[in-house]
């Protein structure tokens, strides 16, 4: 939403802020800002995202406040990395926001500490209507079978690729499906055709999303339901060995270029820099990649595990909207969640920017306003769901999963740089993962 003029509320706020700022001592009162009548209920929302997401969210909040004139909802946001220190500091300081955007990697810990509101009563009394909600997505987002947050979008793992480079290489179109080995040879062909400086794929050995698919295709999960290591040392060894061979044939980028990648920063990704054709990530990021690239970006399923393997992909919640267990206003907090999930005004306000919605009604409602990139993503997700190439994930990431991710990255890089052999790397990964999980709980 683009503001071309200040509305009255902003001018008032600016004026108040300047005066407040100048009277430095004036605000040391009892801790609450002096606005609002006795009947106005104040809620706080915190989320991560960029300015685009903030604009969409503020629109949604405005519309919500119109329907609930007795509620004032303020929002704060920052980027993903700064979000968690800020949130945990606020919670430690006793200042929990009422509405919290949540991530699957953190939700288990927050539920364990009793910080999130359990939503089953809100769901049963239809404040939050999940009757047409994608059940796989919902099930994958629950902790201990209960909902502590509603998914705002779903994601499949995907290989994004540079269509223009495929055309340029002229070694044939991307096969409809391929196994990991077939993918490797296709990439080697691409690399040879495209010449120096461009490889077939980025080096995904340090990418936990990719490793997870590998492990799941062998019938296991990264973690067990008890919160222990789910993969075997052999899984890791095969994984590192696969990428070593790809490095040798030039199918994937050399380790120097791979180590420069920082998955949180789009400009460092090899495909964005024009150094590779394929990049494994989550389907939602297509818009972000396309925005930074002049070439056209396509989307493709991840490699299959070959004969006898299980499907590796799964529908992953992109982010959830949760309520704090300590909120003073359960009714209005859950009403806002319901507004985002069910109310056409709310659905259209936040759009598909946070992910493709789980509710079928929402998806059809958004269809006309989707961007081209978003349409591609929706089509991809529908195709994967129909193809049976996905298998629901039922084990939540335990506390300590973040540390395991870091260990994987470090050890994969050590193997890539030749500091460690494949076998030693696998052993180290297994041992460190066990330590990370033990310390996390």
């Amino acid at each position: 939403m683009i503001k071309t003029a200040y509305n009255r509320r902003q001018i008032l706020a600016m004026g108040t802020q300047s005066v407040a700022g100048l009277s430095l001592l004036g605000l040391a009162a009892c801790g609450s800002s002096p606005s609002g009548t006795a009947t106005t209920k104040k809620l706080q929302l915190i989320f991560w995202g960029s300015t685009l997401r903030d604009q969409l969210t503020r629109k949604a909040i405005q519309l919500f406040e119109q329907k609930h004139p007795d509620v004032k909802l303020t929002s704060q946001f920052t980027d993903f990395n700064a979000y968690w220190p800020k949130l945990s500091t606020q919670i430690a300081g006793g200042n929990e926001p009422d509405l919290i955007q949540m991530d699957m990697r953190y939700i288990a810990q927050y539920v364990q500490k009793g910080l999130l509101l359990e939503l089953s009563s809100a769901i049963s009394n239809k404040s939050i209507d999940l009757s047409d909600f994608d059940q796989t997505l919902l099930a994958g987002s629950q902790v201990n079978g209960k909902s502590y947050g509603i998914p705002l979008g779903g994601n499949y793992q995907a290989f994004l690729y540079d269509e223009d480079l495929i055309t340029q290489a002229n070694v044939g179109p991307v096969p409809d499906t391929f196994t990991w080995d077939e993918f490797g040879s296709y990439c080697a062909k691409l690399a040879k055709a495209l010449g120096k400086g461009v490889a077939g794929t980025g080096d995904e050995s340090s990418n936990v999303t990719a490793f997870e698919i590998w492990v799941r295709q062998r019938g296991r999960d990264l973690y067990t339901p008890e919160g222990k290591v789910g993969f075997t040392q052999k899984d890791a060894e095969d994984w590192f060995s696969y990428w070593s061979s790809l490095r040798k044939t030039g199918a994937c980028v050399p380790i120097g270029e791979a180590a420069a990648v920082n998955s949180g920063s789009i400009p460092t990704i090899n495909i964005v820099k024009g150094q590779a054709v394929f990049s494994l990530t989550l389907s939602n990021l297509l818009s972000a990649y396309q925005a930074a690239m002049k070439h056209k970006v396509g989307i493709h399923a991840t490699p299959t595990g070959g004969a006898g393997a299980q499907p590796g992909m799964y529908l992953k919640t992109s982010m959830l909207i949760s309520a704090s267990s300590k909120t003073s206003d359960v009714a209005d907090s859950t009403a806002f969640i319901g507004f985002l999930i069910n109310d056409p005004a709310g659905i259209q306000a936040i759009g598909a920017e946070r992910g493709v919605p789980g509710s079928a009604k929402a998806r059809s409602l958004l269809q006309p306003q989707l961007t081209d990139s978003q349409k591609l993503v929706v089509a991809y997700q529908d195709a994967i769901t129909k193809s049976g190439n996905a298998r629901a994930k039922t084990v939540l990431d335990p506390a300590g999963a973040g540390a395991v991710e870091q260990s994987l990255m470090r050890i994969a890089q050590a193997v890539g740089f030749g500091h460690s052999s494949v076998a030693d790397g696998a052993k180290a990964l297994y041992a460190e993962a066990q330590k990370d999980l033990a310390q996390g709980s």
Partner: protein, 285 residues
């Protein structure tokens, strides 16, 4: 009088050579700003794909859209940053010079102990004290105001500057002090009439550094400010990026360039105090 070596002693070939080195160095210093300036005029898909400095397409809307990208336009954030920075400057200059005078010129008991303690407070990383401080400020009701950012400066918590001023004051000869003492001046008078004027370069340094560091201090401002209306420039700038969605790099660079202007301006304005130097003719009298 300006501190300058007599020109007659300088060799004539040295000067152009010196100029060349200094100019080459200046280019090295400025290259990143030039790059950022060029990126701020490029559309996002060009920023990372083309290596040349001149944009193929000029994206002026990086500036106009970036300015209004948040709920409040950036003039609010710039104003907030100014308020916080000026408050911090006032706080540091006053409180740190008072403390530094005591350490440098007053001979009180247990001074070495307190001095060591003061140095010790510089050595603890901020990450570790932020949570207890947050709880404290929450109890005062200061969260979401500028108070946690300014009041500590008035209480000399930036011990860095106490130490800086101590070193500078100790480098001032005691002759004027002695003369003043004989005339019956108290410490307060000596502080105000002698030390403050003579330590002007150090005070200017304190002001400049405080302003610049506070202007770019992201972490504390992130932690203590919640409402967008209270955001300062670094907090607002950070929101342009998001690893999980679409980031607005062009706008980020555009507003970053704009945010360099006040700090550069502050620096240029105050560096005159560094130029004017110290009027030391008083010592002879």
């Amino acid at each position: 009088m300006i501190n300058r070596l007599p020109r007659a002693k300088q060799r004539s070939w040295a000067r152009p050579f010196l100029h060349i080195i200094i100019i080459a160095g200046a280019v090295l210093m400025l290259y990143p700003v030039i790059w950022m300036l060029s990126a701020s005029f490029k559309p996002m898909d060009e920023i990372f794909s083309s290596a040349q400095l001149l944009p193929q397409t000029w994206a002026f809307d990086n500036y106009s859209q970036g300015w209004i990208a948040l709920d409040y336009s950036f003039d609010v954030f710039f104003l907030n940053s100014f308020l916080v920075c000026l408050g911090a400057v006032a706080g540091n200059v006053i409180s740190c010079s008072l403390a530094a005078y005591a350490f440098a010129r007053v001979n009180f008991r247990f001074k070495p102990f307190w001095f060591m303690l003061m140095l010790g407070t510089i050595m603890l990383p901020y990450n570790v004290v932020v949570v207890p401080q947050y709880v404290l400020f929450k109890n005062f009701g200061w969260i979401n105001t500028f108070l946690p950012l300014i009041v500590p400066k008035f209480l000399a918590t930036d011990a860095f500057f106490i130490f800086l001023l101590v070193q500078f004051i100790r480098a001032i000869p005691r002759d004027l002090d002695d003369a003043a003492k004989i005339d019956g001046c108290s410490h307060v008078q000596m502080y105000l009439r002698i030390i403050i004027p003579l330590a002007a370069p150090a005070l200017a340094t304190t002001a400049i550094f405080t302003f610049i560091w506070t202007w770019s201090d992201f972490f504390t401002q992130l932690i203590f400010l919640n409402d967008q209306s209270a955001y300062t420039v670094p907090v607002a700038l950070r929101t342009f990026l998001d690893g999980t969605g679409v980031s607005a790099y062009g706008q980020l660079f555009a507003i970053s360039i704009l945010s360099l202007i006040p700090i550069l301006g502050f620096f240029i304005a105050f560096q005159r105090l560094l130029i004017e130097g110290v009027a030391t003719s008083g010592i002879k009298g």
